[in-house]
Symmetry: C2
Subunit: 225 residues, 2 copies
Amino acid sequence: MYTDSSGKTLEDYPRPSVAVDTAVLTVDPERALAVLLVRRADDLGRDAWALPGTFLHEKERLADAVLRSLDQKAGLRGTEPRQLHVFDDSERDNRGWVLSVAHVVVLPWKVVAPVVEVGPDDVRLAPVVDVPALEFDHDVIVRMAVEDVRARYRHEPDPEALLEEPFTMRELRHLHAAVAGVAHIPPDTFRRRMERQLKDTGRTKERTVGRPAALYLRRRSSLRH
Amino acid sequence: MYTDSSGKTLEDYPRPSVAVDTAVLTVDPERALAVLLVRRADDLGRDAWALPGTFLHEKERLADAVLRSLDQKAGLRGTEPRQLHVFDDSERDNRGWVLSVAHVVVLPWKVVAPVVEVGPDDVRLAPVVDVPALEFDHDVIVRMAVEDVRARYRHEPDPEALLEEPFTMRELRHLHAAVAGVAHIPPDTFRRRMERQLKDTGRTKERTVGRPAALYLRRRSSLRH
DNA sequence: CAAATAGTGTCTCTTAGACAGTATTTG
DNA sequence: CAAATACTGTCTAAGAGACACTATTTG
């Protein structure tokens, strides 16, 4: 057995339980940024809402634990979790000493909709502007997740590949407004900022009211969808 | 004992060892951004270099473990660690399943100098442009730490409070050049960007060659120093 | 005075924002 | 044609970068 500089072995150190908790964000048809919540019986047996999470399995990767918890709790698959922060207050979970690695996952509405619409009663979406009180420090995780995603959408067109390609400038703009949480983004300046970062297909959207809109692709087309 | 939704208790889950590893960055008198390394006997008993780190104690906060490891391994105190990332490859440490929470700490040369100059032989600084091969994934941690600090210095004057107040624009500019890893920053545009974020003392530096320079304070003066 | 350093005026370029105009479709 | 939507031209303001100029000190 290898030892560290003090001659102790790994077994000589206390080990915390390690959990992952995930803010799953999506944009609903009303163009609101929303987060997925799961029902959870709290200390007193009352219903409460929390983010989906799970404890780490033996030698499991954190991202795999995130995907496993989303599959088990909400039947969601195939995503790319990003780490946000480790919550390490020893009192944060009254079951014991639990570190939680907070993650964010962004999914298209098309993927989330079936889960919350026809799925079980203990999964729901809440708009991020109106999240109910959550268990543990999950309110903080939601805030960090929203900030993270908004920062990523600030300068790049749809970095999470929420839109199906090809898409129009209008669709892209509405998506960015939803993520940013604003009602309106000026179309002309938005176009000029984004156009150089997109690939023009040369095609236009057919059978529309008004002048047909050009169709674009992301430069680095996502493998998703 | 509280249980989770599956009826299992905390003890039913495997628990990884959890470590912290820290990139301590400073700017040396030659104006190079440098990282603190500690000597470590590797698998074969040969000398190798690594970042200072330690295993978490019972219910200890991560930031406290970072401070404890810096005190023990290098005699450094009084800092504000920031989390960078959790490294979770189960094979990353051949002693067993170890999660490592990487941190970055930025310290003034005045604090680091005594440790590396008169301190023990198994602590040294390496310029970040020329870091030797490190144990584990510590090379990656150094890269992330440097990126983190550079991003923080991009738009704000000395956010880590490396300079003692008051300081001149020239001192601030040289510091920012060191952090960014460039030989020169154009003085006029640098001044215009930073001046509005500083508090002018109205005083000037005495007994200098050339016109005396104005002395500035950070707006939100640090509690350190 | 020369040398050295501090600081300013100003030009160009780029970009965001605002706003009005032109272009192309449906019905 | 009107209505609707897509797109462009152009003005203004702000900021970065470059460069020359002025200002204030020491010796």
